[in-house]
Each structure stands twice: as structure tokens, then as C-alpha cells.
Amino acid sequence: MKRFAEKDCAITGVGMSEVSRGSAKSALELTVDACLEAIADAGLKRGEIDGIATWPGERADGSGFSPVGSAALQDALRLEVNWYAGGGEAPGQYGAVFNAIGAIAAGLCRHVLVFRTMYEATARKTAFANALIRAGERQAGPFAWYAPYHTYAAALQQALFFNLYVHKSGIRPEQVGQIAINQRRNAGLNPRAIYRTAITIEDYLASPVIATPLRLYDCDVPIDGAAAIVVSRLDGARDLRNPPIRIEAIGSSMEYRNSWTQLDALDTQAQPRVAEMMWSRTQLTTADVDIAQLYDGFSFHTLNWLENFGFCERYGAKDFIEGGKRIALDGELPVNTGGGALSAGRLHAYGAVHEACTQLWGKAGARQVAGDPKVCATSTAGGPLAGCMLLVRG
């Protein structure tokens, strides 16, 4: 069988700062907290880190979307590296992990520190800040086409895709609500989660509509926080502190029009072929997956990924999640076991990979999935952004 580069890479340590709705610490200090924890968790010393990767790199725009880039982190920790990268043009939020795999495969690095920092809770207290429209400025980039049409936030833009999904799938609000309800239930068992009080379907249906079909509880929670992982060469990972979590397969393709308006598959976004790529690089199948940490910037992304990974058929997510039993901690496919971005905070899929490793190492405490889970599928999303990984312990 052809050898794929990701199979020679493993996650060896994870770290997470405090996650809050407004931190007393700076964004850089939160990043340092997460990174030092990840390095120590791997059983490494600072001097052994020889690469840095982050997504989407520093954006000094006051939005809190990505206030810390690889340069600031490198200098704060005085790391000496062979390679580093930070940038937003990548196959989704896991683009930084895929870059790390490339650097390791190229022989540039043995231990790459990968991190993601967000400071959106504080940013939104001091000014109205969002990623799509900046007051008083002409808009450039992919969202320039949206600029004149009062597209103030990702929720509005993404609602275009989700409304088409509702139209095609026939999913009902009381079915969609199972995603938010399940994650809030899981968050109740996660001491680091932001919102931990259970919600009912009545609460979900009563929550304000933001932009059809999105309700408030379908949207993730802006936070201040940082998450970090160490991606190591597998042959250097065996003797470290944790059992290595191998990167069994990745999906990083972009075979659609790379556009937020002309994307070929508007309702499924860029996920289907990304998932196909991942499955083409492993002999494992959906039947081997023990848990799933699926992107949940909005609950509909999670629904999309249930279908696009093949856990259910196209437009079958509504039946798969009916009643919420299958996706619960004790269900056949526990989903977003730590509460996800909807309840534990928006770390943009890096909270998800942190939770994946925590579960696979059996360290999830009260929310630990029973049966010694070994295989986790995890994913990122957002219009043309999509990437996924299959993680396997041992």
C-alpha cells in the first residue's frame, strides 16, 4: 500500500488555556499557557520544539479572530526552529496541522507546536467586531461580494448554505435542536465549558432566530482562549509521555470552486470530497470510529459532517440525530463530547482536537466515553473551508 505522510505523524501532547467570556490575561499570555501545557504534556522541553504552525496567522485587526501568530509566539517562548508557518489560505482550520505534517515529512522538523488563539470575547466588549464588515472601510477579499448587502457576520453568510440544506433535506427545527441539546448536556460534565446548564427542546425552539434557519443556540460562543497540540514524528513519539495518537488519514483537498459564492455544492459546502480523500487513505471505515469531534461553528456544520463522513446517508442526519440518543456520550457515535464550540467555546476546531486526544487518552473525567475509545474522526468547516482527520491511539 502506498505510504501516506500523515501516518508517520502523531499528536503527542495537548494544552488549553483558561477559556472565558472575557479574560484578565492577554491573548499572548493565553497562548503561552496553552503551548507550555502542550509541550509539558508531551514530555518535551521547549528546546525540543523545532517547528511552529498556526492558522490563520496573526490578524492585527482588533477583531480577536487571530490575535497571535507564529512570530509572536516564537519570540515569547524564544523557540529556535527549523520551520514555521501561519496563514489562512489552507484546507480549513486544520491547515496548520497539515502544514506540520508536510514539514515533518520533508525532514524539517521532529516536534511541531500547533496552536490557535481567539480573543473575540474581549474584542466584542470594546467594539462591534466581526470578520465580514469593518465600518468605514472598503471591503476586499472573498467577502467583498457580500459587503453591500448588510452581511455583518458569518452567521448570515452561512445561513444561506444552511437554509438550502433545510430545503433539500426537510430537516425540522426540533431535529436540528438535538445538536445543541446534546452538546450542552456534555458541557455539563466538562468543568472548562462556558455554558453548563442543560437546555431542552423548548429552550432551543424559544431561542431567538438570528437568520433563518439559525437560532441563537445553533451558533458557537465567542471566547478568549488558546489551544495547542504537539505534532511529532511517529518514530520520535513512541518514547514520550503519552501513547502517540497517530494521524491515520487526512482530507485536505479542494476540488470545488474555491469561493464563498460560487462553491459548487452550496448545501454540503466543501466537505464531501474532503471526506472521500480521507477515507481513500485508510483501510478503516465509519464502523471503526468510536467518537467524533465534528466542526460546530454552527450546529448545521455538524449535521453536514455526519452525512459527509458517511455516518448516515445524504440528508439522513435528521433521522440519525432524532431524539439525540445515537450522538450522546453513551450512544453509538458520541459527538462533540466536551460540549463543542456551541457550549465550551469557539476555539475553531482546536478545542475539538484537544477533546479528541483527551478522550482517546482516557482523561475526560466525568464525560469520558466508556469502552476505551481508540479512533476519532474530527473535522473543520465553513463554506469552501474544509479539512478532516482520522486520529488513532496506538
Binding site: 464588515i133 461580494w145 457580500y146 448588510h150 452581511t151 448570515l156 444561506l160 433563518t212 459564492t261 452550496l266
Partner: protein, 140 residues
């Protein structure tokens, strides 16, 4: 309570490729780049045809008719003075269904907007640009 004026439409950075799209409304025309060799419409505008590789691609008037591919009814007042609800939509032009324009659907109740609805363009001048908007095609 004092009146808060509705927020102005934010505007895009305009370049040599997109200028005609954002200004041809002055003449009541919706202009989309089109390949002179194979007649394929190319949007967003770039002087290259991805179908036949011709470089002879330039703005051309289209009918201004289209259909709603997808839409959302926005209810949240994101900024002070923003009138809600309103409809954000992607409209495919009648000439080619893979040319989709972002727009607001105007001149109707948001509840009237549906998938596949027939719409027609009109233009709102904002600073030096003419922003294409769409409204339902009413029976004559």
C-alpha cells in the same frame, strides 16, 4: 427614543476587473464578464475563460433576470438603525446558472421569498457605485 439612521451599505474595493460590474447600473445595465470565443460567463470577473482558455473575456449586458438559489431572512439587528427583517440571497442569472450574485431581495415581504423565485435586477446608487439589488418579477 431618537431616530437612528439606517447604516449605509458597506462597499467593496473595486479593481479593473470588477469596476464595470459595480458601475454599469448607472445605465440600468447588469454587466457580467463573458468569453467572446465560447460565450461562457465568467464570474467573479477575470479576463480568462476557464472553459476554453481564451483571454478575450469582457463585460457584457445580461437580461437582469434571475432566480433565487438560496436565501436567508435576517432577524438580528447587527448594528443600530438596521431595519429588520431583510433578505440576503444568492441569485443565479437567467443566462447561466453557475453565475451567482449576492444580493438583497427587496420590494416584497421577506416571507414571500422562496427557492427558485423569479427576480429582476434594479440598482441603488451608493457613493460612486451602483449596487445591484433584486426584486420579485411581478406578473404584467
Amino acid at each position: 427614543m431618537t431616530d437612528v439612521r439606517p447604516p449605509p451599505r458597506a462597499l467593496p474595493v473595486v479593481d479593473k476587473d470588477s469596476r464595470t460590474f459595480w458601475t454599469s447600473g448607472r445605465d440600468g445595465i447588469l454587466a457580467i464578464h463573458r468569453c467572446k470565443q465560447c460565450a461562457y460567463y465568467v464570474h467573479p470577473p477575470v479576463p480568462f475563460c476557464p472553459r476554453c482558455e481564451s483571454r478575450e473575456v469582457a463585460p457584457e449586458a445580461v437580461s437582469g433576470r434571475g432566480t433565487v438559489v438560496t436565501f436567508t431572512v435576517n432577524h438580528k439587528q447587527w448594528v443600530p438603525g438596521l431595519p429588520v427583517p431583510y433578505v440576503l440571497a444568492l441569485v443565479a442569472i437567467a443566462e447561466q446558472d453557475d453565475v451567482r450574485l449576492v444580493t438583497n431581495i427587496t420590494d416584497c415581504d421577506p416571507g414571500e421569498v422562496g427557492f427558485g423565485m423569479a427576480v429582476e435586477v434594479w440598482f441603488e446608487p451608493v457613493e460612486e457605485l451602483w449596487v445591484p439589488l433584486f426584486r420579485p418579477v411581478r406578473g404584467s
